[in-house]
Subunit: 108 residues, 2 copies
């Protein structure tokens, strides 16, 4: 499956993690997040999807991720292997993770 | 239509706008963004979708929006009515808008 759906009626927790990078660290961070997601995160209970975004101006990377619940996400944070990957990401970029709910959706 | 799709093969520009708020200003900003989107943004050429997210900790609002192209988004920025709404949002919150491309998607 290669698409993710945003909707207000899905019972899940959305993590939006904004990484501040430079043009030098943007691609290395994307590589690290991709590897961490494939090898660690996606095997965790409750993981639904991760969607890696790169800003056109080279200053940000955003991971828009979906978890079954806040509790599943928090359980992942306690896994030593996941923490190791997050610490590696932290050496390349400043991370600003927050959990969200989808409040409203508007289409043209 | 009440869902938005994230995919790597869509030819569009993704705007992720992160607003820093307080518990006092989070809901007023959501109301303002909702009104601005319905009344102004969604009628602009190239607007595809806006997806308003509120952080569970009360400190952020994120608009995950899709535009047909970077040029359509930039044309909207030159519209005086749109600028008025953005200025009103700016009085409630600090905005950090960036344009993105979807680099990779990972599912469980």
């Amino acid at each position: 499956m290669t698409t993710t759906t945003i909707a207000t009626d899905q019972d899940l927790a959305t993590l939006i993690n904004v990484f501040t990078v430079t043009r030098m660290t943007q691609q290395p961070l994307v590589d690290l997040l991709t590897e961490a997601t494939e090898q660690v995160m996606r095997h965790h209970p409750g993981f639904i999807s991760a969607n890696i975004h790169t800003s056109l101006d080279g200053t940000r990377v955003v991971n828009y991720a979906q978890w079954r619940s806040r509790e599943d996400f928090q359980a992942m944070l306690d896994d030593p292997t996941a923490r190791e990957h997050m610490s590696a990401a932290g050496s390349l970029a400043t991370a600003e993770p927050h959990l969200y709910e989808v409040t409203s959706i508007h289409h043209a």
